[in-house]
Subunit: 298 residues, 2 copies
């Protein structure tokens, strides 16, 4: 059932993105590279989470145009981060989701500019929102993706390749990398969606923040596990974290203990859902969402 | 006199930037690379223009904290664009203003991330502004630096190296590159400063937009000229546009005709200043500003 939900919602997000990009008055090579990268089979997890939490808390449809702009902007930010992460001076990946990465399809300069443009376009999107919380949302998102957030995660990640395992410092470092690289944008997506509803109190904001952090760890550890046991065809990758000597949960704790970590973070998330002031139907939905993320195959 | 004005104002902007960066709760290598790049001797032209037009139109000091955030953000955007432009896959410059470029001082990955972080931090700054025009300003700035603005200029610039001169298409292309790469951010700076005053009508907005476009061309052509006749020591560059077969006014029109273009754009700017609803003192100041930009040596 959740699979259908994700399929339906990601199609909706794709229509929004396509519509937004096609409306641009002029097209150029950067526009082409952006379009190529964004329609490279992403799951649209961040926009879907934003819309889910907006729908859960909203009381009317006042901000339905806003959620569209928020969703597009969040996916733009995610795609920018992937394009730059794939660059030769960073992770040096030739393939993503089975297709050539942006710098392989075009060239390095175009890929850098396409990433820059996506990040910039995201703020064009956000600036079109009409909610009284718009500036707070822009502040939240930009803070979580800056050099104390997502960018810090990427910097720590590339600076700490070729690690030595079984080192206590590495365990702390790994958790920080996951928190910054993955949880921060997921948190920004979930919280900004809820804030857009204009119908959430401080207590629930704190709960969903904690929920997002746990979800982020759970998501990233399953990602690390999939890199080892997953179907390379489904993942569309060549090479692996192991070959690249990346700091991951399986490389530090082993596969079985990593799975226990996933269960732990899932349990934490479930407990937090339980405390949220939302109806049972919404809670059940969020429980299923956690199952879906735990059992995903790509 | 204008020299003292610029010296004083750029010192003020430097204090603002330093203060902002030092307040960050944690420092890391990206913070270090940002600090290195931003204190690499910039003129602070964009923040100074924003503050100048804010001061010209403002009626009280209501938004004096806002202009600080606007100024810092604009300089962050300018610095991000320089760091990415200097990268090996772009202009491949080892020196800027006599010092190593960011990727030479650190490495390519750090330089890409430092640029990304500066762009992101700019929006953190803007989101702190309290003016009712804040979202309009964010929309204006992001639109002018996106793939229809500054990024388009850089894309056209790198795609059209090794041009053939005396080609009518090149003349149009060159004007577009200047408009996108230089005028767009100058326009965003000037107009957002004026909008922050909350005291400018549509007629004057149109006038200062035209003024900014002419100022941008004037500034960029003097830049191209300085690349040939300027003191390399003052400019702190190695290599030249000519060696890199860059599309510039001198390379297409020759030096003398380029100087005539500067005069033409200066004359246009003067005429536009004359039409603005501002007092004579302000007009005289803006005339002097044009003299200063025409006669600058670096």
């Amino acid at each position: 059932m959740l699979k259908d939900f994700f399929k339906e919602k990601s199609s909706l997000v794709n229509v929004w993105i396509k519509d937004f990009l096609e409306k641009e008055p002029s097209k150029n090579i950067i526009h082409e590279a952006i379009t190529y990268s964004i329609f490279n089979g992403g799951k649209r997890l961040r926009p879907i989470l934003a819309k889910t939490f907006y729908d859960i808390y909203k009381k009317n449809n006042l901000f339905d145009d806003d959620i569209k702009f928020l969703a597009i902007g969040l996916e733009f930010i995610h795609t920018y981060s992937l394009i730059h992460d794939d660059l030769p001076s960073m992770d040096n990946d030739d393939y993503r989701r089975g297709n050539l990465t942006c710098h392989k399809k075009y060239n390095e300069a175009i890929a850098i500019l396409a990433g820059d443009a996506l990040l910039t376009e995201a703020f064009i999107c956000f600036s079109k929102m009409k909610s009284i919380n718009t500036l707070k949302i822009i502040n939240l998102i930009s803070s979580r993706i800056g050099f104390l957030g997502m960018i810090k995660g990427q910097a720590l990640d590339i600076l700490n390749e070729k690690f030595s395992p079984n080192n206590k410092k590495n365990k702390f470092l790994l958790k920080t990398i996951h928190a910054r690289k993955t949880s921060d944008l997921l948190l920004a997506s979930i919280v900004s969606g809820a804030m857009l509803s204009n119908n959430i109190d401080e207590k629930n904001i704190i709960l969903i923040k904690k929920y997002a952090i746990n979800l982020g760890h759970m998501f990233q550890i399953t990602d690390d596990i999939l890199d080892i046991i997953g179907d390379k065809k489904l993942l569309g990758k060549k090479g692996s974290d192991l070959e690249n000597q990346k700091l991951t949960y399986p490389s530090i704790y082993g596969l079985e203990k990593s799975k226990i970590f996933v269960s732990k973070y899932k349990k934490n998330s479930q407990n937090l859902v339980n405390k949220m002031d939302i109806n049972l139907e919404c809670k059940n939905f969020l429980y299923k969402l956690l199952d879906y993320i735990e059992n995903r195959t790509y």
